[in-house]
């Protein structure tokens, strides 16, 4: 206690003042006056008689002076309002105000010209001001939801104590004392998490609070109160005896508080820890709000020069129907960044025709669709924007779409005449004027035996047609390819060795082939064509052909196929699904999810050998959809939630070990630049990694704003290879309906917190807060006064005060 108190040189030097009376005494002993004195006998008699009493009085006087100086120094050092142990000694308790501030983006709701978050800040200031006027010692802790959530995520993601969290670059808290790794692994460090950590409310507190809250704004994160409540619970467990008031300053949205099981549990624990709970709502009436919940391209082939549909999903969080919702859509085409500085790649932004949604019922999500077109390959951006409403953050959404020059498909045909290759190639390239964006790369079956992981990764999909059998290296390469997110379509045929397929590809369900094969099956033509040979499920591949009016599938005839055992049924948990069956209910098209990718098995030929499908128009449609579907599994996710980590993996040796990230800033014209090192997890690893943001208290802020983020890795020769990331808000946070105070009280029963409106937290109305406390510094002051008075009295009685009147009379 005293160590912390006197840790500053100033206080230590002040403490030295206590030695002044002793020094003065010693100096006086050395610098006494000499008097030649006649009446020594009387003096010696007096000295002999009073020696002990004189010494005692002198000692008491000196001790009183030392004590007075010590006390004054202690009060000057703030002991009067800083040390709980002293307060406890005097019977008083500190009053600690834990203010939990909701800074999720729903707090950015604009109400009557002001933001709910601004109201919340005003509430915080009013509480602080009221506590400063209160009696007793007051501590103040301010915790934002976002920081508590980031801290909780960090704690959960760092089980080992070895992570050097304090060495992370870009930390905005580097000036704080770094907690030990063990502490950080076990519990969040309040000193790092809290904006104000147990600060004493003194004359300088307003300045500190103003410094902290200046420029503070609601985040674009979707965070609930639970992490902050958990953090406070931990803090309460660590703190000693104190008077506790916990304030939750929030908007109490329905999605978080209508059934707050976890929150209720946390509040219950706080109440059991003798905390007085105050819930302060910063919103009044519910407002309508529209949010773009999704902006994503359709799962079609993406290639330069190929038009692509983009879906816009808009949700109506209000209680009235939204009509004539007009969505602005912009596409940004990025040209070759060669020679450009990070963030300054040449680009062209075009306003696309707005998407109009005529009507969105309350709670419903409506779909709008627009088409984008980029003439050149590259990583391009599409942005959608809703008209202004109470919450701005969810009115924007971004999508990054990678448009390669073309999507390459590996095609291996086991047919001696390459008939499958012919028909499939014809489907992918139906004519010179029609650009499907797909390029076929035909290879022999032996190609797979020597194919590397990187070689296969450049193919968006692999089509295997009537291949007799696969060697072990080929199977391993294919399985790795699918597990990494690739898509494989397998057509069987007369050359297929059933036993080999069952033994190597299916492997009793462990392989990537979806089902076992038993024998060749034959579908006898019916006497009357009442039922089509092919019956398909609702699936993206067959979606264009569905519908009673579409006769294309009825033209498909299958007369031979490879049949699965009659008793075979797909296991519901195996990820296997039958997408199409023959008239005799035998499965014809079966899909299996394998790793990140998927495999589609067609139990007949691609070429019109066992069927006539390739001769009909539906074959082209299904083949293109099949390619899109298979390639879609491997397409990178184009949207990241705000605050998440933007990972970047690069081939080792080909890129420089430093990557520049460009993030959107508060001012759109001024981006924020981060430079991150890229390193391999292990020596000689094939890839180096880096990232921006992440579940770290010091890094989550790096991606705390929605928008387009760019990574500018540079190859060894210095050429930029720009990657883009779309970071979007969590749309459900835009749900603005909140739980009214009375209802909240009912929900939280048997808890009895005070639930108030922000307007009630005016400084004039806060007398209901139990500031408690014990201003024992006042008692220190009284003791000091008593000491000084005592010193004066003692000094008076030990000194000589000539009385003129007496002298004159004598």
């Amino acid at each position: 206690m005293l160590y912390s108190l006197f840790s500053t040189p100033v206080l230590l030097s002040l403490l030295g003042l206590a030695a002044v009376p002793i020094l003065i005494h010693l100096i006086n002993m050395m610098r006494h006056r000499r008097v030649q004195w006649a009446a020594m006998d009387f003096l010696l008699a007096s000295y002999k008689k009073h020696r002990n009493w004189i010494w005692l009085k002198q000692l008491i006087l000196m001790l009183m002076r030392v004590a007075a100086i010590l006390l004054a120094v202690l009060m000057l050092a703030g002991v009067g309002c800083r040390e709980d142990q002293f307060a406890s000694f005097f019977g008083g308790r500190t009053t600690h105000h834990y203010v939990l501030l909701d800074d999720s983006f729903s707090m950015s709701e604009r109400v009557g010209g002001a933001f709910a978050f601004d109201r919340a800040l005003q509430v915080v200031k009013n509480i602080a001001q009221h506590t400063r006027e209160g009696e007793g010692r007051q501590r103040f802790t301010l915790i934002r939801f976002s920081r508590a959530a980031a801290s909780a995520a960090e704690t959960a993601s760092v089980p080992s104590a070895a992570k050097p969290a304090s060495q992370e670059p870009g930390s905005d808290r580097t000036q704080r004392p770094a907690a030990t790794n063990a502490q950080r692994a076990n519990s969040p460090d309040a000193a790092v998490v809290a904006d104000l950590n147990a600060e004493y409310v003194d004359s300088e507190f307003d300045e500190r609070l103003e410094e902290v809250t200046r420029g503070l704004e609601s985040s674009q994160l979707s965070v609930g109160p639970t992490p902050a409540l958990q953090l406070v619970r931990q803090l309460l467990a660590e703190k000693g005896d104190e008077n506790r008031l916990v304030y939750v300053v929030s908007d109490f949205r329905t999605n978080e508080w209508s059934n707050p099981t976890e929150q209720k549990k946390q509040l219950q624990e706080l109440a059991e820890a003798d905390a007085e709970l105050h819930l302060i709502s910063c919103v009044e009436q519910e407002q309508a709000n529209l949010a773009i919940t999704d902006l994503a391209p359709t799962n079609e082939t993406r290639a330069a020069g190929v038009p692509l549909f983009v879906n816009v999903m808009v949700k109506n969080f209000g209680r009235t129907t939204a009509r004539n919702v007009q969505i602005k859509v912009r596409s940004t085409f990025y040209d070759d960044p060669q020679g450009a500085n990070p963030g300054e790649a040449p680009k062209q932004t075009d306003d696309l025709p707005p998407v109009l949604i005529e009507e969105i019922a309350p709670g419903d999500t409506a779909l709008g669709r627009t088409q984008v077109f980029f003439p050149k390959s590259g990583v391009h951006v599409v942005e959608a924007e809703l008209p202004a409403d109470p919450v701005v953050a969810d009115n924007h959404r971004y999508a990054v779409i990678d448009f390669p020059a073309a999507e390459t498909v590996l095609l291996i045909d086991g047919d001696a005449d390459a008939r499958n290759l012919f028909y499939l190639s014809a489907a992918f390239q139906p004519g010179s004027r029609a650009n499907t964006g797909v390029v076929v790369d035909p290879q022999p079956a032996t190609f797979l035996n020597a194919a590397t992981r990187e070689q296969l990764a450049q193919y968006k999909a692999i089509f295997l047609c009537d291949v007799r059998r696969f060697d072990a290296p080929a199977i391993e390469a294919l399985e790795t390819y699918v597990q990494d997110g690739g898509g494989v379509a397998i057509y069987v045929g007369p050359n297929v060795n059933i036993q080999a397929y069952n033994g190597t590809l299916y492997r009793d369900g462990a392989g990537f082939f979806p089902l076992p094969l038993e024998k060749e099956g034959y579908l006898v033509a019916p006497l009357e064509q009442a039922e089509p040979d092919l019956q398909v499920e609702d699936h993206p591949v067959f979606a264009p052909l569905l519908g009673e009016r579409n006769p294309l599938l009825q033209l498909v005839n299958v007369h031979q196929y490879l049949a699965a055992p009659a008793a075979w049924r797909p296991d519901p948990d195996s990820g296997v699904r039958v997408l199409a069956r023959l008239r005799d209910r035998a499965p014809l098209v079966v899909e299996k999810s394998f790793g990140k990718g998927r495999v589609m098995a067609f139990l007949t030929t691609a070429a019109p050998i066992w069927n006539n499908w390739a001769t009909g128009p539906s074959f082209v449609v299904v083949t293109l959809k099949l390619q899109s579907h298979l390639a879609g599994a491997g397409r990178d996710s184009t949207s990241y939630p705000v605050g998440s980590e933007l990972p970047l993996a690069l081939p080792a040796g080909k890129y420089q070990a430093e990557v520049t990230f460009v993030a959107p800033g508060a001012n759109p014209e001024i981006p924020v630049v981060f430079v991150k090192p890229a390193s391999a997890e292990k020596a000689n690893a094939p890839e180096i990694f880096t990232s921006l943001g992440g579940s770290s208290l010091s890094r989550f802020q790096e991606t705390a704003r929605s928008g387009i983020y760019e990574a500018w890795p540079r190859t060894s020769d210095g050429a930029p290879d720009v990657r883009r990331f779309a970071v979007n808000v969590e749309p459900e946070e835009g749900r603005l309906d909140h739980v009214p105070p009375r209802e909240l009280l009912t929900i939280l029963e048997p808890l009895t917190p005070t639930v108030s409106d922000w307007q009630e937290y005016d400084t004039r109305n806060l007398d209901f807060l139990d500031l408690g406390g014990f201003r024992w510094s006042r008692y220190l002051f009284y003791v000091l006064i008593a000491l000084l008075l005592g010193e004066q009295v003692m000094a008076y009685f030990t000194s000589y005060h000539p009385a003129r009147a007496n002298r004159q009379s004598s």
Binding site: N28, R31, H32, R33, V35, A39, M40, F42, Y47, Q58
Partner: protein
């Protein structure tokens, strides 16, 4: 040649000039004067009748008594004689203390000179004896006017030295001046009080009219010191480092006890005692004392 003005202040003697130093007791002089003599003679003061004896001067026969009672008686008158005053001045080391205009030695010497002037002015005889442990200087008892210079010279030459030994000095004075007269002791009495009182009693037993001028400095009476002080004895090797504020009360108690004893014992032995501060104006102090004596004498 002594500085006559060192110890005789014209302003002071002017103020006390109208006063008289009268012996309260019978003193033996050489000539007629204003003081009662143990010898009967011609005087205006009738004392008693005595039976006539052959040889008596017939001028003293009270014929009125013979006419009325038919017996011869002689009228006896109280003889008035001159005063023989001896000034005993303490010139020990302790007397050199003084924080004011004059130290105790200077003040005592001035008192002595002023009294000498007064005595001579009354045509009485005065002598001086300056002493510490021994008699340092001595001026014989004379009544001529020019004797004042001899007294001043004796006082001036007797610089303070050594410590006081009161009883031997007083005994020596008693033996040196066997004829009853006035003994004026001017001292701070900072010596063995038993010896001092014993000596004073001895003088009284020898029939002397004894006056004590107790000269003390303000500092000695008030002890106004503060701050750490080292007191070093003027007549001893004693010293004391102390905070005088703390000792003052005890010091004053001891001093007052001493003064009270002196005052009481002097009164018991019919010794005039006067405590005089060196800060007190000399003429005022003397005038006050002499006036009170005259008053007592008148009664």
């Amino acid at each position: 040649m002594p500085d006559s003005k060192r110890f005789v202040h014209p302003e002071a003697v002017k103020r006390i000039g109208r006063l008289e130093l009268r012996a309260r007791h019978v003193v033996e002089g050489f000539q007629s004067g204003m003081h009662r003599s143990p010898y009967f003679g011609q005087s205006v003061e009738f004392l008693q009748h005595r039976e006539y004896a052959p040889g008596d001067d017939l001028r003293h026969v009270d014929w009125t008594v013979w006419a009325k009672q038919d017996r011869l008686v002689v009228k006896q008158y109280e003889e008035e004689t001159n005063l023989r005053c001896v000034l005993l001045v303490d010139v020990s080391n302790s007397m050199q203390y003084g924080a004011g205009a004059m130290n105790k030695y200077e003040y005592a010497s001035t008192v002595a000179a002023s009294l000498a002037w007064l005595v001579l002015k009354q045509q009485d005889a005065v002598g001086v004896l300056a002493f510490d442990a021994k008699v340092r200087r001595k001026a014989p008892v004379r009544s001529r006017r020019g004797h004042l210079l001899s007294i001043i010279e004796a006082l001036d030459a007797a610089k303070p030295s050594d410590k006081t030994a009161m009883y031997p000095i007083l005994r020596e004075a008693a033996e040196s001046f066997p004829r009853r007269g006035m003994m004026v002791l001017i001292s701070d009495l900072l010596a063995d009080p038993e010896g001092t009182l014993k000596g004073l009693k001895l003088l009284r037993q020898r029939g002397h009219d004894v006056l004590v001028f107790h000269i003390l400095d303000d500092d000695e009476l008030d002890f106004p010191f503060s701050g750490p002080t080292r007191f070093e004895g003027l007549e001893s090797d004693d010293h004391l480092n102390c905070n005088p504020r703390a000792l003052r009360e005890g010091y004053l108690a001891a001093l007052n006890q001493f003064l009270e004893r002196m005052r009481r014992d002097c009164a018991q032995n019919t010794i005039d005692y006067a405590l005089i501060r060196t800060s007190e104006p000399l003429d005022a102090a003397l005038a006050k004392f002499l006036s009170s004596r005259l008053g007592m004498h008148g009664r």
